[in-house]
Symmetry: C3
Subunit: 349 residues, 3 copies
């Protein structure tokens, strides 16, 4: 598959994307971007999240640099104030107002807060009409611990999702941390898709070698492992070992711009012993792994741009990349695809 001169850039606008964690949205507005549009994120009078295009209607200064007063954001330059709908509520100094309030609007994006995350709807012109963000499983289940982390990748959303759901690279890029010991096993991955997702279900995968595997399953054994991509931008990795061990890593991706992608990861895990302790041990390891992915994806993007486009060759063990791109391109055009089995692939891991 040669794609010279092209990039795996897809814009699925009619969808919810995470802009920030709830805990990071306090008194000061935050500056975020979605599909390369600068956005100001702040809390309205009732604490609800508000997302406006980050450009004052007056002199185009970013309003995210201002303060929030009674749930309205105030431009730092002349003090124009905008409410949760983007309507200008105050033009300081103006006494005899003959102008049009409509002209002074800034575009607002629909926003909701769910499960500790602030989401924005990617298309300000076509409202969500009842659509809700993805519900992350197990967050309310007492038996599960939760770890959250985030990262920013200099890469397309597709390249980032492919990286997250790719098994073969772990033995090289994360050698010693994740996979990559000397003993290798042949396992089988079953691929299946439905209208909005595609997943690889690994059959007979032994506990991953390396430090993480030993922590997750000290007694060894065979794990159930599923890598799953769900539209528009969720890359999920699931490990299960019998009834007692279950780890679900939900990576919510946000298309900041064509070549910058944010990741909000929520790890929900149930382990036979020492859950909290394991979480604390795993955190620096996860951080190290993410940093390696950040670096290699930045190198990939730089090189792809340097050569004027992607020129990728894939093999059967690039399990999900092409399927994800097809799903994304379908969704970009507003189409869906049929569900079905996609066959099996053998991998040596």
């Amino acid at each position: 598959m040669s794609t010279a001169g092209r990039y795996s850039v897809v814009h699925v606008r009619r969808a919810w994307y995470v802009l920030c964690e709830s805990a990071d949205l306090r008194e000061r507005p935050l500056k975020r971007s979605l599909f390369d549009v600068p956005l100001a994120v702040f809390r309205g009078a009732a604490g609800e999240p508000v997302v406006l295009v980050d450009r004052c209607a007056h002199r185009n200064v970013p309003i995210s640099g201002g303060r929030v007063v009674h749930g309205e954001i105030e431009c730092p330059y002349h003090g124009w104030r905008f409410d949760r709908e983007g309507v200008c509520r105050s033009v300081p100094a103006l006494v005899d107002d003959t102008g049009s309030a409509k002209a002074r609007r800034v575009t607002r994006y629909h926003a909701v807060e769910r499960q500790g995350l602030v989401w924005a709807w990617g298309d300000p012109e076509n409202p969500p009409e009842g659509a809700e963000p993805y519900v992350i499983p197990h967050l309310a289940d007492n038996r599960y611990g939760v770890v959250r982390y985030s990262a920013s990748f200099d890469a397309t959303l597709h390249a980032t999702a492919e990286n997250i759901l790719d098994v073969p690279h772990t033995a090289f890029l994360h050698r010693g941390l994740f996979r990559g010991g000397d003993k290798r096993n042949v396992i089988t991955a079953k691929l299946r898709r439905d209208a909005r997702s595609v997943e690889a279900d690994y059959i007979g995968e032994p506990r991953p070698s390396g430090l993480i595997g030993r922590l997750l399953a000290p007694q060894g054994g065979t794990v159930r492992h599923v890598d799953r991509f769900m539209l528009p931008s969720i890359a999920q990795v699931e490990y299960a070992l019998g009834e007692s061990s279950h780890v679900l890593i939900t990576n919510l991706l946000t298309p900041v711009s064509d070549f910058v992608t944010s990741m909000f990861a929520i790890v929900s895990y149930r382990l036979p012993i020492g859950g909290k302790l394991v979480g604390r041990v795993l955190e620096p390891l996860a951080r190290r792994i993410v940093q390696q992915d950040v670096e290699v994806l930045a190198e990939q993007t730089r090189n792809v741009k340097k050569f004027g486009g992607e020129r990728f060759v894939s093999t059967d063990v690039d399990l999900l990349g092409a399927h994800m791109l097809r799903l994304l391109r379908h969704a970009e055009r507003g189409e869906t695809q049929e569900a079905g089995e996609l066959g099996s692939v053998r991998l040596e891991v």
Copy 2:
């Protein structure tokens, strides 16, 4: 007023612009730019300012990196020397000169030195023909103190001038330093224009609240306040309080490039008491205010470029911006406009 995809960039070339303060032009040439053309500024044999395009005719190295010898500037690469007219006077090593002196010229800009400033005429192909730079008032008047400062803005000349002459922003961007206390008053501004200027004359303005107001007029009272724009690039702010207090801030702007503007400010002031002391107290305040303006204008420019053009909405209290832009565009085309009253506007300040 929507100006999507456009920028308030104007090129009034047939005019004098300040390149540097006299005190900064010593033995070493200075590197400046005007309308994005790199210029070398130095002193000729009689100490007179000389301005040449900063590109050696030979191998195009900037001559501003060289030394000045007997009033000629010497290229640091091969030592070619150029006189005050841009004529090449020496080609080292060349014995049998068969070439044309004309080809070796560098373009010169007309330059004069007035009132401690070095000015260049913006159009090297159409000489000034007797035109003189603006004469700054009160500099020779013993009763006046003088403070000078300069700054560089990442903004168009128009945006910079609008910022300098804008009243409403002071209560927000410079909150606490300038205006912005709780007590607000409604005042009236009369607008008038002539062929080369436009001004706002504020009637019944109380002493500005904030620290600066208290220093300028400790006894309170009503000030006379005029904000004035004069072609091609002078933004002047005048305060008078009876006979005893008079402050005139003349901001001379230089279009370094489309989105970089230099400001040379000359404050001439007469105060009832402690003039020099007040100057020393005001200087750090003025510096802080200018720094806030530098930052907000850079944010404005960055955001305007990010969104692909200005998309400004104005109200009646944007008193001078549109008038200045019209004056500038007229001047760019070599036209003038009629004088006249432009009506009054009420502001709450």
Copy 3:
């Protein structure tokens, strides 16, 4: 000669260029560029140099970031391995390989190692067919000492070569270090060319004044001095003083990209006394001179780009620049030129 809007950029691809010194190519691959193409340089199983385009066939990550295993380079992302021909020898995890090995190739450049240097042939599609890199004289002669250094210039190959072979600039840019004393002499340069080179032979040149001249010829006298350019990119400076003193500076230039040129300099010298000591004294001086050239060429390139192209005026004492450009343009088109005398020029140095 006006060349407004143009640049002295020439691409002579069918030629050998130095990528690195042998001593710098050890276990880790090196990242180099030739004609703006990123290249990975490493050693094959037998220690031979290998040059591959620095882009993994799989996901386009630079393979130069990987390790070398048994003479094959391994991509750091998924571990694909490429041999000395660019053939992919391993796709980790892949069990049932149904793909085409041909699609997985990366382009290789022909490479040889000669006289302590690693050379690549600039045209991967047209192999060298027996062509050999330039042989640097005197390296195997016991009577000669050798000093090597390298530098990177932000300049075209032509501007770099012209700088190296230019005499007049030495009295200005390197004032005090090289030439530039008060006593000046008129000498004559004879120019001659053949199909692949052009040279200036200086007759009756006194020992260069300045420190370097005093070190090279403590007893004074008349030197034989030749400045020589040989296709595609060799700028050679030769000094001889009778039988006992001989200094040959061979500067091998590599077109990293249009405006970046690498220089690998080999100084072979035979001196009447204290050869090694002189080398040690000269090294910091040479380093200082090269640094001055690096800086002035970067200024030249920046200014040329700023003004939108070269606009050079030349005189008779720009001895070799125009001839070199003609040679390069001929070679770019695959043509050659006739040999012949090109006349004499008098210079004051």
